[in-house]
Symmetry: C2
Subunit: 135 residues, 2 copies
DNA sequence: ATATACCCGACTAAAATAGTCAAGTTTACG
DNA sequence: CGTAAACTTGACTATTTTAGTCGGGTATAT
């Protein structure tokens, strides 16, 4: 099981922002340099974060991004869902009655993977952005 | 985060075997039919399981596979590692001192992903094959 | 004016995934 | 003995996902 780089970078970038507590906007260029993440990749990521109201943008010179909520209330699960990075270990469509094998009942492992999803999501639900900057 | 089909099928197939408690060998053909998994894919999977001593094989007519240990002691983590399906959410080489960004120190999110790995692995470590057949 | 910084859609090389194919070997059973 | 059932093994492939890049915008402080 891997984590994709978009999510990893998103958390990294937001943690970077949060560690500079002055509420001036932070430019992606700065994050890019400090964290060694491609600027153009960051732009892609922040578009998503913005659309999902995790950051807001200020355009023009001296512009950048600011967090819309405090790092102490921002959950990792919010960040992940903003990037469509959802945990899904089942092989079937969870919204359907059908199983991963195409049959009309769920397979013998379905409940296990369901439990696993819950287990992993709990981690993201309980972690706040703040938790990783007070290090 | 997804789970690959090899691991999912491996657990499914082993659970199938474990639910027939008579200790006669179970043929892949039977598992294939009961669980709707491609026979040839199962062969590939069981090669791995055999090499890692999770099952043993009996060749020839009336042959098949049998579990080498009891379902009550077989941990999911053993199955996963047999298939090289390891949890790894960090972006860096954990054995190296270097960070995911190529620098000489670990990045600001490294400890978080490390914690996540531990969290997920704990699930596989605590789950036994038996847990999913007494349903 | 102009440089800084966000905005956004399209594109792509490389890797991973989810299998299939083909050609064996071994052994129970009639 | 012959044969079918079942394991063994390596190679191959189509598709999808990943991890970005490219290129052309628009807004605004100075
Ligand atoms: S994983 Fe949902 S039915 Fe198999
Ligand atoms: S994830 Fe290990 S250094 Fe970034």
């Amino acid at each position: 099981m891997r984590l994709n780089s978009k999510s990893r970078y998103a958390v990294m970038a937001l943690a970077d922002m949060a560690s500079f507590i002055d509420n001036k906007p932070v430019s992606l260029r700065d994050i890019s340099l400090r964290q060694s993440i491609s600027l153009q990749y960051l732009e892609q990521i922040f578009l998503r974060l913005k659309k999902n109201n995790i950051v807001k943008s200020i355009r023009g010179v001296k512009g950048g991004y600011v967090l819309t909520k405090d790092a102490s209330t921002l959950k990792l699960s919010e960040i992940f869902s903003a990037l469509d990075e959802n945990v899904k270990t089942t092989g079937c469509d969870n919204n359907s009655k059908k199983g991963c094998n195409g049959r009309s009942t769920k397979c013998i492992t379905h409940n296990l993977w369901d439990e696993l999803d819950v287990h992993i999501n709990a981690f993201f639900e309980n972690k706040k952005l703040e938790d990783l900057i007070k290090n």
